[in-house]
């Protein structure tokens, strides 16, 4: 199965390890992964802040770049939502582009959703092991994906990993306060929301925070560090946890005789 990776601008620039992990997991599960090099950004920041002409241009180029690929997978929930929910209407002025956007919307999947709904990934068949206490923050855009019948697959996947002590985050559904430009245009609001989220994370006692959106991850980890005076749980994507639990990347796999070692990377 050929899969194109839509890495997203924030993931590529700030959390590239999540992109690497996604590639490794997909290849391990038998996919042939491709990376269209001309990709840059899905246009969501422009769309959300009301600069729709710019968003439209970025949507158009994204649609063209990913046209050849039957499956497009992205490690970011918000970018998946942008493509699936908003691209068709953004390109509505051109019938051919609109049709191409609708096609891309159907072919684009958030990583966890792709694993469970397209690859029918069964965690129990893979001997997943990961030693640590983890909690999970679901990105708000997963709400949109859930509404169209794709409920969040990540908690179940985390619970299926041996050795992973999963503590649900209190009021996980509360926004972390990132909101793109909102974080810098409404710093008091955003900061207060991020602080609440950091408090909730600390209350779980987890040493790892799983988050499938680079924006949320930057925001929450930054807030945890500020609240914890430089200390913060390690933040990583589901792809990274799975890659580590499968022994594809260095991580705290608990089994004896594991050649990949158990050094946990830093936040």
């Amino acid at each position: 199965m050929k899969v194109a990776l839509l890495i997203t601008c924030l993931t590529e620039n700030f959390f590239p390890r999540a992109g690497v992990a996604a590639v490794k997991v997909l290849e391990h599960l038998g996919c042939e992964v491709h990376f269209p090099r001309d990709q840059t950004c899905c246009g969501q920041p422009m769309f959300n802040s009301g600069h729709h002409a710019h968003a439209r241009d970025l949507a158009e180029r994204t649609v063209r770049i990913f046209a050849p690929w039957e499956h497009v997978v992205t490690p970011s929930a918000s970018c998946a939502a942008m493509v699936r929910e908003h691209y068709p209407a953004l390109l509505a002025d051109d019938p051919a582009l609109r049709a191409a956007a609708e096609s891309l919307a159907h072919r684009t999947h958030e990583f966890a959703s792709f694993l469970t709904r397209v690859l029918n990934f069964d965690p129990r068949a893979h001997g997943l092991r990961w030693d640590g206490a983890a909690t999970y923050h679901p990105a708000c855009h997963l709400r949109a994906l859930a509404r169209e019948g794709a409920p969040d697959a990540t908690p179940a996947l985390l619970r299926s990993i041996d050795g992973l002590r999963y503590t649900p985050l209190d009021r996980a559904d509360q926004c972390c306060g990132f909101g793109g430009l909102f974080a810098v245009t409404y710093p008091d609001l955003s900061g207060a929301m991020a602080r609440d989220k950091a408090d909730a994370v600390r209350a779980t006692g987890a040493n790892a925070l799983v988050c499938n959106d680079a924006g949320c991850a930057m925001n929450i980890t930054g807030a945890c560090r500020r609240a914890g005076r430089g200390e913060a749980p390690r933040t990583l994507s589901l792809a990274e946890i799975l890659a580590e639990a499968l022994g594809l990347m260095p991580g705290p796999r608990a089994s004896v005789g594991d050649e990949n070692g158990s050094e946990a990377p830093q936040p």
């Binding site: 620039n13 090099r37 422009m46 802040s49 708000c140 990377p265």
Partner: protein, 520 residues
């Protein structure tokens, strides 16, 4: 819009005494000062967070218990009832007017707030009313009725307990359903001592009792009752008013004259539709199956009724005040659907921004929270409320909570796009240039990669903390202070640098190892 023949009430933009100034600030209204105060007030944050979180959690539990996975279908039905009515509002309004008049009510037409105030003052004058009791109604706040009545010599008392207390304190409601979430019992106790000469007590039951006795004294002397309406039923000409306290009953039935002020969007086709909408209203607000009192008024008292307003004593004022501007914009994504709102407050209770900002009247208008963020700029002008559509992280909790399926996030984005087109707000010009430059880079992959590499170098050089890690892909540093406008981020949290290694270099090596060839 017609202008009044003579001026009435306070001049529009000067702050008026009492709580009025909180909800009618000088325009254009900027949120920053009130947001800063609200987010720093720990006690306020706690009150509001407790009140709203509890209601939100109970709402979800109540709907789960009542409808289970049928909830989506019920919300869709409620949305279609309201949308259908709006799409044919002329038809249903005519039907309502005819039926209300047939039942003996007098119907009045107010194009704007000034006209609505005029009509109320005229009715008060014609009935020689000097004491008015009113029940909580957002629309009467919207038209600034109370100051106008007082200025005309009609003492007007808010009877909803929360509004009564706010009136005593010269304060204003901070929530469309539970107006007093920003105040605690000690504030109430002090207000009662000061304004009513009551003994000091912090016991909520005793405080409620003091209010009950005081208000009963007023009910018994009142000549005029004013309420809003939750629904107007077209096929019967009925007005529906929902309360928990029962104060509306005294305002509706305890005086000779009852005035209803209602926005035109309150129409529904028939009483059967109440079976759907009422099931959603109280559960969305307070997780109750129904409010304690659900009252249908159809005209004044009938010939042998022992009480209720006299013949000619029921007045219904239908209000436009900018609603037709929203009505005009039908079609997919258009503003018309905003008029479906049944004022349940669910979006306020679900909203993480309201949880921080609401208690401080930071929305600067009668309608607050997510619905206020889209309704207020739509009714009063985007240029007057340029911050409201942007003060949101677009998390979507509001849209999910709305019982009539208003896609609030989509309207926030639409308003932001309209603002960009209008060049709003003024500080946006610099931002527009930055976004244009950013988009340019994103359309040119080589320039983009160059910019990304430059950013990585600069941020890593500026970083003041970072443990370093053996894996360059995970070797991240942190900054506690970013320069310029980006400092807003580091006010409240650290900012990560990109790691030492980048994805594309890794990919190139990966491809080489996999194929020995180049990728597309």
């Amino acid at each position: 819009m017609s202008s009044p023949a003579h001026p009435t009430g306070p001049v529009a933009s000067a702050p008026a005494p009492g709580g009025d100034h909180l909800l009618e600030p000088p325009l254009p209204y900027r949120m920053a000062p009130r947001l800063a105060r609200a987010t720093k007030n720990i006690q306020l944050q706690q009150f509001v967070a407790t009140a709203t979180r509890l209601k939100d959690t109970k709402r979800i539990a109540s709907f789960e218990a009542t409808f289970g996975d049928r909830l989506g279908a019920v919300r869709d039905l409620a949305a279609s009832i309201k949308q259908h009515t709006l799409d044919h509002l002329d038809h249903y309004l005519e039907q309502f007017i005819d039926n209300a008049q047939r039942a003996g009510a007098t119907v009045h037409y107010a194009a704007d707030a000034a006209e609505a105030r005029d009509i109320c003052l005229r009715i008060a004058r014609d009935t020689n009313s000097t004491l008015c009791v009113k029940s909580k109604s957002m629309v009467t706040e919207e038209i600034r009725l109370l100051p106008a009545l007082e200025a005309a010599g009609v003492k007007t008392v808010e009877t909803d307990l929360g509004e009564f207390i706010l009136q005593l304190d010269g304060d204003a409601p901070s929530h469309i359903v539970t107006p007093m979430i920003h105040k605690d019992r000690t504030a109430v106790a002090r207000a009662f001592v000061r304004e009513l000469g009551a003994p000091y007590t912090e016991d909520p039951a005793q405080l409620t009792g003091i209010a009950r006795e005081h208000l009963r004294g007023l009910y018994r002397r009142a000549d005029l009752g004013i309420t809003g309406a939750n629904f107007l039923v077209a096929s019967t000409g009925s007005v529906v008013v929902c309360t928990n306290e029962g104060n509306a009953g005294f305002c509706i039935s305890g005086t000779r004259t009852h005035i209803v002020v209602a926005g035109i969007e309150k129409l529904i086709p028939g009483p059967e539709h109440l079976a759907v909408l009422l099931k959603l209203l109280a559960r969305s607000s307070t997780a109750q199956p129904l409010t304690v009192y659900t009252t249908l008024i159809t005209g004044p008292r009938k010939q042998h009724d022992p009480d209720g307003p006299d013949q000619g004593g029921v007045h219904i004022i239908l209000l436009d005040n900018g609603r037709t501007d929203l009505l005009r914009r039908g079609g997919p994504g258009g503003a018309r659907e905003i008029l479906r709102c049944i004022r349940c407050g669910a979006c306020l209770n679900a909203c993480p921004v309201f949880r921080k900002a609401g208690g401080g009247h930071a929305y600067g208008a009668v309608y607050s929270g997510p619905i206020g963020a889209i309704l207020t700029p739509s009714l009063k002008g985007l240029h007057n409320y340029p911050d409201l559509p942007h003060a949101s992280s677009l998390c979507g909790a509001c849209g999910d909570a709305c019982p009539v399926c208003i896609d609030i996030p989509a309207h926030l984005i639409r308003l932001r796009a309209e603002m960009t087109g209008l060049g709003l707000p003024r500080g946006m010009r610099a931002r527009k240039a930055v976004i244009a430059l950013w988009t340019f880079l994103l359309k040119h992959p080589r320039l983009y990669r160059l910019a990304a590499a430059t950013q990585r170098t600069i941020l890593r050089a500026l970083a003041d903390d970072g443990p370093g890690a053996p894996d360059p892909m995970a070797d991240r540093r942190w900054l506690s202070a970013l320069p310029g406008p980006a400092a807003a981020w580091t006010q409240h949290r650290d900012f990560p640098t990109p790691p030492a290694a980048d994805f594309r270099s890794w990919w190139t090596a990966h491809e080489r190892a996999r194929h020995g060839g180049r990728d597309s």
